[in-house]
Structure formats: structure tokens, C-alpha cells
Amino acid sequence: MGKRLKATESLKRLIKNYYDEFFQASRSGKPVAWLNVGVPCEIFYAMDVFPFYPENYGAMCGAQKVTPELSQVAEYEGFTVDICSYARANIGSLIAKKGPVGELPLPTIQVETTNSCIMIMTWWRAVEKLYNVPTFVIDAPLVKFESEGYHLDYMESELKRMISFIEEKTGKKFDEEKFHEIVKISNEGKRLWAEILELRANVPCPMNAGDIFTHMFPMVALRGTPQYVEHLKFLRDELYERIQNKDFPVPDEKVRLLWDNLPIWFDLRLFDELEQYGIIFVIDTYTQAWGPRFMGIVDESNPIRSFAYYLGSGFLNVQIERRWKLMEDLIKQYKVDGVVFHSDRSCKPYSLVQPELSKLIREKLNVPTLIIESDHNDQSGYNRNGIIERMKDFTQMIISGRQ
């Protein structure tokens, strides 16, 4: 149970170095930008502005189980308890001047995009107003399938406006040559990520969901850097090695499941725990947000336009038709026996469409589904035993259905 990847040790070093660099940048006066995960960090690396992702920091608060404590600090200031737990943890951490990595230095600027949720926009606004941080919102109107036509033109103009904003607020210039180099590196890593995701289709699966969620970090924060490519290569090779040596987390898979939504960051061990019952999560929708369908290879001859396309067609900026298509493809490609929807109280755009998707999957593909409710970051009211029992029953139901 919980067979660890060697790459996890290298990932820990990567994260530590990233945070060291973040603190160093803040101390030395190098511009730091807080971004939400939809904003392309490649542009910031090209402009020598350090990109920091508060959502990633939020997940760290979750993993270290400090969200309820930090949340109370935010609630005391008037932020309500039912807003996103990432936001509560981050805001609480700023106000309290404490958290998993100590006091968080304030950024030089903030940039966020509306391509995931409205909540993010108000969270960034909170930091802007509390600490007077110059903030730019990349407006990304929700699309049905993808960004095209005048929508795409608008997305491109938004990215150009963002670059002007960064130049104006940090004094850093957009270096086109450096940008092209970074885009090349970013693309190389994206190809590796796509390969890693595909390797999980192997039967048995070489990597459970807890590991892939952990290894998302370089895809989120380090795209375009050499260490990101190096790490993904290491991870990919290890998966090949596992397949070759028949060294699988669940050698005797009883059910292959798909996980929908963010993970429960404070309980990634849940996936390990379920392995003893022959349950493995072979694929998930969340990591696809950085995969070839939603954050694919950037056209190196016209990178800004290409980034604009992916930004406008981001995973949470498309409608149910495309979410359904993704799930249908994944269920077939990964030989999925059942789908588990994590109904996440802190992520409405991801969660509110799940009952409808669940219905579609049952009716059109005849694949069993289960909806469990929790929160991605706040353990208050978490019913771990209840979830495990329901998963076991669900597995039994799938097995019985085969006979």
C-alpha cells in the first residue's frame, strides 16, 4: 500500500527550491507576481518576474491541515465561512502573518483570469484591497467548446494588456527572444506530461491518483524552466521502469476508477488506503487541465495567440458538452469501471455540473458513478470512514455488476 515513487524525493527538493527562490526574490526586491493557475507563468519567467501561485500555497495549507485555523482569522475580518477554502486559508495566512512556510511576503503585482471561477477574482480583489497590491484581471468570458473568432481576438488583446501592465508596474520589459526559448522548454515539458498521463492507461496502472496530484506542481508553477523538464523526464522514466518491472501500486486491480474534481488535499493518503481493496484511480479530470486538450503545445510561431487560445478554452472555461466529451474519452481510453465525483464545496464551477454529468455517464455509457461530498482544503466536517465505506460498497457493486 502506498508504494512511493523515487521521483517524489526529487519533487520535494524542487518545491523547497521554488519556495527558497520565492523568499529570496521577495527579500532582494525582485518583482514577484501572484497568479492563479490559469495565467501562463511562461510570460513571467520571460520577464524576470517570479510567478507565485496562491492556489498551490492553499493546497499546502490543506495538506498541512492548517486551513480551519487560518480560515477563522479571515472570518473574523468579515470573510464568510462558505467561500473557497483556498481563499480563506490564503487571506487568513496574510492577516495572521503565519502559515506553513511562515509569514508570506506580499507580491509586487497580482494577475488573475476569470477562466476558472468568479471566486478567484474576488479573492485577488481581497488581497488587492487589503494590501494595496496592483492587480490585473484577464477577462476570459466562458465559452462553449473553445475560444475562436472575436473571442480569441479579445483574449489575445487581454494578454497584451497584461504584458503592458507587468511592464508598467515592475519596470521589466517583455523579452521576445527569451520568451521563445521558454516556450520551447515549456512545450517539451508538456509533451512529457502528456506521455505521463498516457502511461497511466496501462493495465495495471503504474501510478495512483495521489501521486499524480502531487506531481502536478511543476506543471503549475515551473513551466518553461529546465528543472521542470528534468523532473518530468525522471518521473516518466520511473513509470516506464515500473511497467517493465511489473511493479504496480495495485497489481491485482479489482476496479479502475476515474476521479473527478480537485483532490482532498488534506487526505491524499485516502488513495493509498483504498489500494488494499483493489481500488485504483487510473485517471482524473483535474490533471487534464494541464494536459494536451486544455493546455496543449503552444504554437512557437505565434505564441501569444496560442496562449490566448488555451487561456480562453481552459478546462473550467468550457461548458458541459466539452466536459462530457473529455470524460467519455477518458473512460474509454483508460478502461474505467466507475467514476467517483468529488463534490467539492469549495469549487462550484467544477462541482455543480457533476450530477448532470453523472446522469449522462450512467445513461449513455452504462458506467456506474458515485458522488461523495467534501472540500478540497478544509477538513472541518470531513467524514473519512463514511467515504471509505461508500467506496467499498461502490466497488462491490461494480464487481457484482460484472457477474
Binding site: T122, P141, I320
Partner: protein
């Protein structure tokens, strides 16, 4: 409810198009010869909607879905969503998948309050309403759109007139009655609403109303409602909320003794303020004027920046000499859950007393609300 019977009857002669928030440009629907209506919540408990939306979805949005699932909105020919918030986005997906109205349209709306978004939104309006014309068999022209702009502007001016009258204490109608009238602006036929609005009082005074109607005959017949026992000067409050359709809430405020002198409600002053510029030589210019108004109008907290919303709230308090603010948040409303922190800070800085209350479309915590509001009343009236 008058609203349902009125719209049901109207649907025999006109196509009714439903919308969900005041970012919807109703001008286009009038220009096509149809009737736009903002869908309002009722006090129905979600039963069927619970099959499709989780417990943490905004209860107001969920109630609208419940009404559709129970066929209460079968008089609609189409609905148009604007995204607005994350909960309404969820409602949209279900509405579309379950085909709850013959046509379900979606405007890929901008979330920012800045002029750079205007041209994009104008293109999007044109695209969506051209498509809607095709699917509903309608048409809008430069002339019909211009007429529609004029009539909607008149509707907003009538509302401004009502608010101006109220700030000056005439008529001192109960809040329940006043807000019944205000909210009817988004579902009555415009001419009927305008007549009703001008009947409600006599002459406007206070800040000037640009381009007011000459409705003298109608105004003559008006009998302002006088509420003799109302402590007008002491109990004046401004109500801040996103949408608040449950008129029972206003009844509760009346019973306690509050006088809602003005508001910061999406379908209240935020709907009434800012007109579309009528001056245009081409249809594209006119569409751009419409887009400009909807981008720059007093923002809800789902838009960025939302500073004007807080400024306007404080302005309403000062202009009406209100004693305090009642901030009402619909449970699970994310944007208001963040915005409140800044409203609180600003009101405290301005020395304006306020109360934060939270409920759902059914006011299921009615007794608890009453106790808290009574305490606030005593605080501001000084009993």
C-alpha cells in the same frame, strides 16, 4: 402571484424571454417585439432541483431551476443566461441539458468594468441576438432597437423618479408596497410599469430627473399612501443585497418599523442607474452604446472592479440621511461573502451602523432574522 398569471396571459400574444440578472440587455428583446422578464424567486422549497444541484449551490439560483423543473415557467419561449456567478452557471448547464425551455441561450459575458471590453461585448450581443432572431423568428432593426433603448431608458427614469420621491418622504409607503412596484419594472410591460410608477407619487423633487415624462393626467389620479405610524426620520435604512425577491422580507422590515429609504440591490438602484446613450447613427453604434452601459453600470460584486458599488451604497446612505445599512447576503453567495469584508470596513470608516444578515429565498430563518433586526432597530432608533 400576480407575476405568473400576468406573464402566462401575456404569453398568448407575445413571446416571453426569461433572463436571470440585470446584466441582460433587455433592449434587444423589446426590439424583436418580444417581452423580456427577469425570472424571480418564489418561496418553493427545492425538491426536484436537489437532484441536479448540491446543497452548497446558491438557494436563489436553485429555486429558479426548481420552478422550471416544476413547469411553472412553461410560458417562456426562451431563456438567456449571462453567466453572472458560479451558481447560475451551474443552473445554466442543467437548464440546457434538461431542455427546460425551447431555447436556451448564453451570452459569453465579460466580467470586467472597463471600456476595453465594450467592443467585444458589442460583437457578442450582436452574435447572440442574431442567433436568437433565427431561432425565434424575430428581427430587430436600427429603428426598433432605438425605440427599445428609449423605452428602457424611460423605465429607468421612472424608477429614478420613484427613488427621488421616496428620499423626500413622499409617498411614505411601506417598503413592501414600494419594492413590489420597483421589482415589477423587470417583468411588467414597460408602458404599464411607467404609468404605475408615475401614479405612485405626485411631483418629483430632490435631484433633477432628466427627460421626465409628461404624465400629468396619470399623476392627478395618484393617491400617495401615507403610513401615519411610520417613524420616518428615525428608522430610515438602506438595504444592500444582490437579489432579494422575497417580498416577505420587506414586510418584516415594515413590521419592525424600518423604512427602507433606498437600496443597493441588483434589481433596485443598480438597475435604475445609468441610461443607454440614445444618440447613434448606425445600428453598430447603437449596439456599442448598449454594451457600454452594461459594462459600466453600477457593478455587482461578481464584476471587477466593484468599487463603484460600495461608493454608490455610501452615497445612497448620505443622500437619504439613512441611519444605517442592512446587508443581506444570500447563503453560499461567494462574491458577496468576500465583498462584505470591504463593505463592513468602509461603513465602519464612515461611521454608518450596519447589520449583516444571511438567509435564503424562503427566509427559512425568519424568526432568527426578526430578532436580529429588532435589535438593530433598537440600536439605530435609540430606544
Amino acid at each position: 402571484m400576480e407575476y405568473y398569471s400576468y406573464l402566462k396571459k401575456l404569453s398568448n400574444t407575445k413571446k416571453i424571454i426569461g433572463y436571470f440578472d440585470t446584466y441582460f440587455p433587455e433592449e434587444f428583446i423589446y426590439a424583436m417585439g418580444f417581452h423580456p422578464v427577469r425570472l424571480m424567486s418564489d418561496d418553493e422549497e427545492p425538491v426536484r432541483a436537489n437532484e441536479f444541484l448540491q446543497g452548497f449551490c446558491c438557494p436563489y439560483a436553485k429555486n429558479l431551476l426548481e420552478q422550471a423543473l416544476k413547469h411553472k415557467l412553461d410560458f417562456l419561449s426562451a431563456v438567456v443566461f449571462t453567466r453572472y456567478c458560479d451558481s447560475l452557471r451551474g443552473v445554466y448547464e442543467v437548464w440546457k441539458s434538461e431542455k427546460l425551455t425551447p431555447i436556451v441561450e448564453f451570452i459569453r459575458y465579460s466580467q470586467v468594468v472597463r471600456e476595453e471590453a465594450v467592443d467585444y461585448l458589442a460583437c457578442e450581443f450582436k452574435n447572440v441576438f442574431d442567433r436568437l432572431c433565427d431561432s425565434l423568428g424575430g428581427e430587430y432593426t436600427f429603428d426598433s432597437l432605438k425605440d427599445a433603448v428609449v423605452i428602457v431608458n424611460k423605465k429607468r427614469k421612472a424608477l429614478q423618479y420613484l427613488y427621488a420621491k421616496r428620499k423626500n418622504g413622499d409617498p411614505k409607503s411601506f417598503s413592501e408596497k414600494f419594492y413590489n412596484l420597483v421589482f415589477s419594472a423587470t417583468w411588467l410591460e414597460p408602458e404599464k410599469f411607467i404609468r404605475k410608477a408615475y401614479k405612485f407619487g405626485k411631483e418629483p423633487y430632490g435631484y433633477p430627473i432628466e427627460g421626465r415624462f409628461n404624465e400629468e393626467d396619470e399623476i392627478q389620479t395618484c393617491v400617495p399612501e401615507i403610513t401615519a405610524n411610520l417613524e420616518f426620520d428615525n428608522a430610515k435604512v438602506v438595504l444592500s443585497a444582490t437579489e432579494l425577491d422575497n417580498i416577505k422580507f420587506f414586510f418584516l422590515l415594515d413590521m419592525i418599523g424600518f423604512f427602507v429609504i433606498s437600496d443597493d440591490i441588483a434589481s433596485g438602484t443598480r438597475y435604475a442607474k445609468d441610461l443607454v446613450k440614445e444618440d447613434a447613427n448606425t445600428i453598430d453604434e447603437l449596439i456599442r452604446n448598449i454594451a457600454l452601459r452594461y459594462i459600466m453600470k453600477p457593478p455587482c460584486s461578481v464584476k471587477d472592479p466593484s468599487d463603484r458599488r460600495i461608493d454608490e451604497l455610501v452615497r445612497e446612505v448620505k443622500m437619504s440621511n439613512a441611519k444605517g445599512v442592512i446587508f443581506y447576503r444570500t447563503r453560499f453567495c461567494d462574491s458577496e461573502g468576500v465583498e462584505y469584508a470591504f463593505i463592513k470596513k468602509r461603513l465602519e470608516a464612515e461611521g454608518i451602523p450596519h447589520i449583516y444578515i444571511e438567509s435564503d429565498h424562503r427566509l427559512s430563518n425568519y424568526q432568527q432574522l426578526r430578532t436580529r433586526l429588532e435589535a438593530f432597530y433598537e440600536q439605530i432608533v435609540g430606544i
